[in-house]
Amino acid sequence: MSAKIDIEFTVNGAVKQVTVPATASALDMLRDQLDLKGAKEACGEGECGACTVIVDGVSVCSCLSYAVDFDGRKIETIEGVQSDEGLDPIQQAFVDYGAVQCGYCTPGMVMQVKHTLDKNPNPTKEEIQRGLEGNVCRCTGYSKIIDAVTEVASS
């Protein structure tokens, strides 16, 4: 077993302390140690985006991130997107436009859309598509997702 390292970071505004194997992925740590099961593992190779989380303001694949590198950082996951008033506008648009079918890709999609819109609140259709280049959806055919994002961006 690899050395265990103590790390401390914030997830969705709350400070967390965990002890993780030096070689563990951030995705395994979030799911297995913090019970944040929103981020999904599908490919485990950086190809699908189902594991997307936001680290210090940038989206990354948590399956390729080392958990130890989260030490001292600010992490946002799908669990923190909803506010007390209800769903985030991105989540609501996904519901309204039927952009969720099996839902496996959705947490990663929403986080990547959030990052894309945070950087560029008024994207063109091409900019939306390019933002989602690293997110695979096997169900919706993408059109409904693009429509949902277009709606959020224009409102």
Partner: protein, 282 residues
């Protein structure tokens, strides 16, 4: 996978160099190559895992006189939007735009791309074309190595185990230097190049000079296009020259047949992309 006994995250190059001098260390930057290569067993961890991402001196792009310095930890996303890169090294920004996906660009560092030493490493090709040096640091001090002489085979470089890549240094290109980057894969995003080309020069009164050409994914390491360069230098950039350059490029590369493409197809792609870039710069 084997056991990591120590994890360190030094805050300075000096501390990192001391750790490297003390014994075998696996370096991690963005982790996008390392996580997969250790997971598959292609690479075994050393006893110490060293995360270099906290070293501020290795971050960011700066300019000092005629030298542009790119910190090894600069991400592909940063290269895509950095003002100094856009002004002086636009072919690097063009490469960054064709690299992987947003999430992978956000994590991938240029130092990791170079040290991974893939024959298809996209970041390497335009930097080689611009005549970049890599700066290697160890407890004994720094040395510069030309990027064109850095690679010795797939995954192999002249970097010693006790050395850290800290930066890339590039002399400002000649006034009026213009170039382009071509990369081909079966789809636009998230693809390992079947072949790539970076080419540039100064075109004045229809004549091209200061030519530089580099190729990726068509040999055991990324390579300079010496013959294509020699053919182009000082020539009038017309249809005949462009076609001869495409021919020279397709002849001097040394591709193999593999799962991604045949050698014949790779030579064809090199010809087409070389001609396309020349048509654009002319």
């Amino acid at each position: 996978m084997n056991t990591v006994e120590n994890y360190i995250a030094p805050g300075s190059i000096e501390e990192a160099a001391a750790a490297l001098a003390a014994g075998p260390v696996t370096i991690v930057a963005g982790g996008t190559d390392l996580m997969l290569q250790t997971g598959s067993g292609a690479i075994a961890y050393a006893k110490t895992l060293m995360n270099v991402r906290r070293i501020a001196e290795m971050q960011g792009v700066s300019i000092d006189g005629d030298t542009i310095r790119i910190g090894a930890l600069t991400t592909i996303t940063e290269l895509k939007s950095d003002a100094i890169i856009a002004e002086h090294l636009p072919v690097v920004a063009e490469m960054a735009d064709k690299f992987a996906s947003d999430q992978i660009r956000n994590a991938s560092t240029i130092g990791g791309n170079i040290c991974n030493a893939s024959p298809a490493g996209d970041g390497i090709v335009p930097l080689m074309m611009y005549g970049a040096d890599v700066v290697l640091a160890s407890a004994k001090g720094n040395r510069n190595v030309a990027l064109s002489e850095f690679f010795t085979g797939p995954g192999k470089t002249v970097k010693a185990d006790n050395e850290l890549l800290v930066a890339i240094e590039i002399a400002k290109p000649a006034a009026g230097f213009k170039g382009g980057f071509g990369k081909f894969g079966p789809r636009p995003a998230l693809e390992i190049a079947m072949a790539s080309v970076a080419l540039g020069g100064v075109v004045k009164d229809g004549v091209i000079s200061n030519v530089s050409v580099a190729f990726g994914a068509v040999g055991p390491t990324p390579m300079m296009g010496a013959k294509t360069t020699a053919l182009l230098e000082g020539k009038t950039l017309n249809e005949e020259t462009i076609s001869a350059a495409g021919e020279a490029a397709s002849e001097e590369v040394t591709p193999i047949d593999d799962v991604r493409a045949s050698a014949w197809y790779r030579r064809h792609l090199i010809r087409v992309m070389t001609e396309e870039i020349l048509n654009d710069v002319g």
